[in-house]
Point group: C3
Chain length 162, copies 3
């Protein structure tokens, strides 16, 4: 049974949370409304470059799943920057994964699982989320995918309700 503290779990998994990736338009990376947090689309960045290209044309499903994992790490970076520590996450409620894909591509599930698996590894049952995974024909800067989430938080005062 994994530890319930996601920050410890990050260390246990040997993960490195990257620097938060900035907004590159007229939006912010996350907005909090009470105990609900809405994120912007998160992009796959390997520390040097964005992962770009279309699944089914330029990238394999395996490369796509790795890109999804990178986007999930970027999402964790935003959460840590917004919340201080990941243990304020009560539940990942919903994830939207948009895959930059060729019209014949059919393996979106395996691609976005690269992100979903990481969220469950880190948050255990609190990381189990509903999800919409779709293929789109283009994304900003030709990014391979985007990952957006709606997340329930524990109240700020530490009086965790569950």
């Amino acid at each position: 049974m994994p530890p319930t503290n996601p920050d410890e779990r990050i260390n246990q998994l040997g993960l490195t949370i990257p620097d938060p990736f900035p907004s590159f338009g007229s939006y912010v990376m996350a907005v909090i409304d009470g105990t609900t947090l809405y994120t912007s689309g998160h992009v796959p960045f390997d520390g040097t470059a964005l992962i770009t290209g279309k699944l089914g044309d330029d990238l394999s499903t395996e490369q796509g799943a790795r890109a999804a994992r990178l986007a999930a790490l970027s999402l964790l970076a935003t959460l840590r920057a917004e919340l201080g520590h990941l243990s304020r996450v009560r539940q990942i409620l919903h994830v939207t994964g948009t895959v930059n894909a060729a019209p014949h591509f059919v393996d979106h599930t395996a691609v976005i699982d690269g992100a979903s698996d990481l969220l469950v590894d880190v948050f255990a049952t609190r990381g189990q989320h509903a999800r919409l995974a779709v293929g789109v024909n283009s994304l900003p800067a030709d990014m391979a995918l985007e990952l957006q989430a709606v997340i329930a938080l524990h109240p700020r005062n530490g009086e965790h309700d569950a």
Copy 2:
């Protein structure tokens, strides 16, 4: 005036709710946060096979609307499995319909109406929802469409607030 009980309305309409369709990736079909329920993308399944293909290329608008109705029935199956009975639904808040479409397709509204009409038939005013309907160039397993929803619930204790 239709009965306000959606479970009775299902019978009155002669509808059969199918078995809940399982997740086929690292996600769950629905997550509840207080009195808000987020669903995953629901797919059109006729009891034997998924409805696949692209609107405008492989499927007519009428076939698409039928697929949307099947996806809405699958969404009802998830709701009944999660909630016990459909009368816990206070309001369908928002539906996202993603249509697997050829680039020249323009009748997404009529396609997704196949789902929306069913929700209003079953839930009456509680089924009237906001909606985003778009065309995408590919979907997992080449499914014809996906249907995702955000739904407000009555509290579990039966102390319905409206």
Copy 3:
């Protein structure tokens, strides 16, 4: 520092809020759940015609940004019709922008900024939102884009909480 009253700000900016654009399917333009409002997809309408066509093929990025601004004005029209006045908006939480685009299009950010910039101009910090901007290969009636939002409201009784 801009005035905090968005209705005054509309006048100061010389903006004209159009008539609310009607639903053209089996959905409503907005649903309110407590202090959360979900909108449907809003479309670019210049008072005479919908802005149609694909970014990268039929429309320039500048034309797309203007279309996004028109869709944002239509969203404001829906909000004013639903809420009476725009000062009931506590925070724009999340915007989804779907751009009807050619597969090679990469400037979705600049297009949807046309909407986001307007929301920030009108609502100042209350207009700063999280966002998902993607390219889709088709939209209803070949519209250039759709704009959907989730918005936090002040309670109706005027006892504004912030």
